[in-house]
Amino acid sequence: MPQLTIDDHPIEVPTGTKVIAAAEQLGIMIPRFCYHAALGSVGACRLCAVMFLDGPVKGLQMSCMVDAQDGMVVSTTDAKAVDFRRQVIEWLMLHHPHDCPVCDEGGHCLLQDHTVSSGHAIRRYRGAKRTHRDQYLGPLLQHEMNRCIQCYRCSRYYQDFAGARDLSVMQIGNKVYFGRDRDGTLQSPFAGNLADICPTGVFTDKPSRYMGRRWDYERSPAVCIHCSLGCNIVVSARYREVVRLEARFNPHINGYFMCDRGRHGYTYTSAAGRPRQAIFEGQPADVDATLQHAAERLTSIARMHGLAAVACIGSLRSSVEAQGALVRLCNAQGWPAPAFFDDDERLAAVQTAVAQQHAQVHVSLRAVENADAVIVAGCDPIAEAPMLALALRQAQRRGATIVVIDPRPIELPLAFQHIPLAADQLAACLDDLITRVGTVAHDPGALETGSPADPLAAAADLLVRSRRPVIVCGTDLPNVAAIRQAGKLARVLRENRDSGLFHVLPGANAYSAALLNRGRSMAQVAADIAQGAVKALLVVETDPFHHLPNRKRLTDALARLELLVTLDYLDGPHTRKAHVFLPSTTIFESGGTFINQEGRVQKTAGALQGGTALRLVSNTHPPRLYGQGIPGNQPMPAWLMLSALSGESAFGSSADILQWLAREVPGFENLKAAQPPTGEDLLLDSAGRSEIGRHCLDVTSESPLNPPNSGGGLHLLSTERTFGSEELSCRSPQLIELESTPQARLAPSEARRLALKDGDRIALAAENGFYETTLKVADNMAEGTLAVGRHCHPDWPWDGRHARIADRSIKKIDQRETKINP
C-alpha cells in the first residue's frame, strides 16, 4: 500500500488509487470536472493539476491520471498549480455564456464554483463565441449545449456506464457536441442522472426548471419507494411542494445514481387532486372527530356481525410504522390480521423469498456489481427494479457473464444470455442447475465446456467456474417452488464459493409486510366481502383497484360493504367510494422506516411540512397567502391515526412501534438496536425464523416443481413495466409521457400457429369480458406464453395477475369494422 504526502499530510492508500482520490480521503477536494468516482479518469479537462514536488513523479501533473505511489510529495496549493488551474478555467470559459442568473444550474454548478474560486472574473477573450443549437431530449431533461466544457462525463455515463446508445459525442475540436443525431426523447430509463452528473448547466432537470435555487430549497435525505431496492435520494422542496429528487450516494445500494421512475415518481405528493380533507357522511370534518366516528362504527359492526366481519388491507408502500400500527390495531380489536399482498400466490412467493434471506447469503446491489456470474431467474430487472439492471451492467463490464432465465422478451442495456423458458418450467430448470452444479463440483470432467447446444449446461459450467456468483430471483412471475430452488442453488454454490442471493420484491416495504402478513390476501378479502362475510373494510394506503385486476368484481364487492374506511394520500376509487376518509401523509412529509429487499433498514425523516402546495392556492409571485392556518394541512401519519383507532393500545411514538415489532414479531429482532453502528445500515435477518418458514410451508407445501400443463393454450402473464405499472409513479405527468402502450408479446412460432401477425389488434376473452391489446411478435420469448404489459388501471377480466387462456379465446379484431371476427 503506497504511502505519500499531500499538502504535508501523510496518507496510505490501496494500490491503484489515483492521487485525486487519495487527496479526497484527506478531505482535500482537488478541483475537477471530468474525474468522477463512478466513471474514472480520462484527463480531459486539465483542471485537477497539482505539483509533484518529490518522489517517482515530478512536476505539474493531472492528479486524476497519476496513481498514488510510495514517496510521492504532492502540493495542491503550489503557486504554479494554482495558476495553471486558473488558466484552465479561463479557457473553459471562453465560449461559455456569462449568464448564470438565467441558468438553472446556477447555485449548484461545479463550473460556477470553480470559476469563482479560481478568481476568473473578467473575460479577456474578444473573439466570436462558438454557439450550438440545443436539442429536445424529452420531458425529463433540458439541453443547453453552449454551457458545455467538454468533460465527457455525460457520454461516459450514458454510453459506457448505463449502456444506452442514443446520446453520443458529435463533431470534433472546438465544435464538439454532446447530444443525439436529431431531436428526440432520450431512451434510457437512467437518463435523468445526466442532470446530476453534468458539472454545468447543459443537462438540467426539466420539470423543476426555474422553481428555485438550491439554497432556496429545503433539502433532506430520503429513500425511494418506487420499487423494493430502496435507493437513496435527496429531496428538494419549496413552497410546500416537492420540486426535485436527486440520487444520494449509498455504497451498498444505488452508488451515485438512481432510475427515472424513482427520480420522477414523486408528483403524487403535491398533486392538485390529492385528498387532504377528512370526510364522513359525505361531509368534511376534522380528523379527530372522523377517527372517533370510524372507531365507533367499526366497533359497532364487529359487535353486530362478529369480529370477523371487519377486514383490513395494508400496503407495501406504507412505512414499517404504519404497517406495524395496523397489525397492532387488528390484534388489539380482535379483528382478523390485515392483508398486505394482492393475491395468495404473491403472498406465498414473497414470504418464501424472505424466509430464505440469511445474512450470510443475501447480498446487496453492490455485491451484484462485483459478481463474476449472475443468474437472473424469473425477473425483468429494468421493469421490476430498474437499478438492478444498472448493477448488472457494471458486473458485465467487469467481466461477469449474465444469464437471464425468463419467459419474457427481456431487454437490458448490456450483453447477456437469455434462456426463454416458460414460467412454470423455472423451478425444474433451477433444480436441474442444482444437480449439474452438484455433479460437476465433485467430478470436474462431468460437464462439457459451454456446449452451445445446451444453454443450461453452459450456465452450470459458468457457475462451477465462478468465484462470486449471484442468483437473482423475482417474486412476480416465479412460483414458490422456483423461489425455493433459486435459494437452494445459492446455498449449494456457497459450499465452495462466495455466492449470493438477491430477491426482487413487489414493493418498497414488501419485506416487512411479508414478516407481518399472518392472514389472507387482498383477493381473499374481496371474495369474503362478495360472500357477505365481511361488512366493514379498513383500507390503509393502498388502492385495491390498482392491485386487484378485476375491477368490476371489486366494485360489486365493495358495494356490499356497510362501511368502507380509507386512509390514504392518493386519490382513487378507493378514496372516492369510502364512507369515511382519513388523509394520511406521504413519506416526504412524515418520513418513516423502509426495509428493502435484502432486509436493509432505512429510516428517513420528513422533507417538508404538510399542506397544499402554495402554487395551488396562490397565484402571486412570490406565492403568499394571508390568513390563519395552512390550507390542506390535515393529513397525519397513518401510524398515528391507526394508533388512535386502537384506543388503549395506542403507541406513544413511532419509535415505540419499532420496539414493539422487535419484541413481538419474529424476524424484526434486529430492530432492537436503536442505533446501528455508525455508518452502517441495520440489516434484518429473517432466515430460519421458523414462524415465517412454517407459514410459507403451510401455504405452499405441495407445489410441484413442474406443474402439468393444464389443458394447452397459453400462459397469460401480466407483467410489470418500468413506467406505468407502479402505483405511485404511474401518476407522474412527466413519466406518463414516457410510457409505452402496453402490448401483448408472443413468440413467432405461436403467432404463426394462431395466424396472427405483429401489430394485430387482438381481443383476449375471459369468462366475463374481453381484454383488448396490440400484438407484438417477439423473437426472444418462451413458447406457450403471452406476456401483457401491466396497466396501472387494469380492466383485466381475470381474477389473477396470471391466467391460462385457450387458443380459441384469442381473437383478432378486424380494425376496419372494429368488430371481433367470429
Binding site: S168, V169, M170, D181
Partner: protein, 155 residues
C-alpha cells in the same frame, strides 16, 4: 435504401473487422463515393447495415471532416491552410478561388453546383506549398495563372 452494390461493398469491407461497427468509416466512404455526401437517410441505412444506432454512426461521421453530412458540389476543393502553406501565402490563393468561383469563402458551393471549397490541414505536400486538392488530384506551387487552367479541367 442502400443499392445492392453499396450493400455488397459494405459487406466486403466489414469482413475485415472484428465487429460490424469497426467498418463504420469505410462504409460511410463507400456511400459517399456513390452519392457525394451522407444524407440523414443514408446515415440511417448505413447504421442499420452495421447494427449501430444513427447517433453512434453520426458521432463517427461528424468527427471526420471528409465525411460530408451536407450536400457538396460535383468537385470538392481542399485548400491547405496549415503552416507551410500559410507561410507561402495560401490566403492569396483563397482570395483568387473566391473571386473565380464567386463564392463567399470556405464551406460554400458555387451556384452551378460545380465546386465546394473546404479548408484542409496539411495535405502532406509542404515542399510544394501552397497546395490544394480537387477530388483525388493534388496541385502544388499554386498561383493565379495555374488556378484558371486547373479549374477549367472540371465540369
Amino acid at each position: 435504401m442502400l443499392t445492392p452494390l453499396e450493400e455488397e461493398e459494405i459487406k466486403f469491407v466489414a469482413e475485415h473487422y472484428a465487429s460490424l461497427d469497426g467498418a463504420a468509416i469505410e462504409a460511410l466512404k463507400i456511400v459517399q463515393r456513390h452519392r457525394g455526401w451522407i444524407s440523414d437517410d443514408s446515415l440511417r441505412d448505413v447504421a442499420e447495415a452495421l447494427a449501430m444506432t444513427t447517433t453512434e454512426l453520426d458521432s463517427v461521421a461528424t468527427f471526420y471532416n471528409l465525411i460530408f453530412r451536407q450536400p457538396v458540389g460535383r468537385h470538392v476543393i481542399l485548400l491547405c491552410d496549415s503552416v507551410s502553406c500559410w507561410i507561402m501565402g495560401y490566403d492569396n490563393i483563397l482570395e483568387i478561388l473566391k473571386r473565380r468561383l464567386n463564392i463567399a469563402g470556405f464551406g460554400h458551393t458555387t451556384a452551378d453546383g460545380r465546386f465546394t471549397l473546404l479548408p484542409h490541414v496539411c495535405l502532406g505536400a509542404c515542399d510544394r506549398a501552397p497546395v490544394m486538392m480537387i477530388d483525388d488530384r493534388l496541385y502544388g506551387e499554386l498561383d493565379a495563372d495555374k488556378i484558371d487552367a486547373i479549374l477549367a479541367q472540371y465540369e
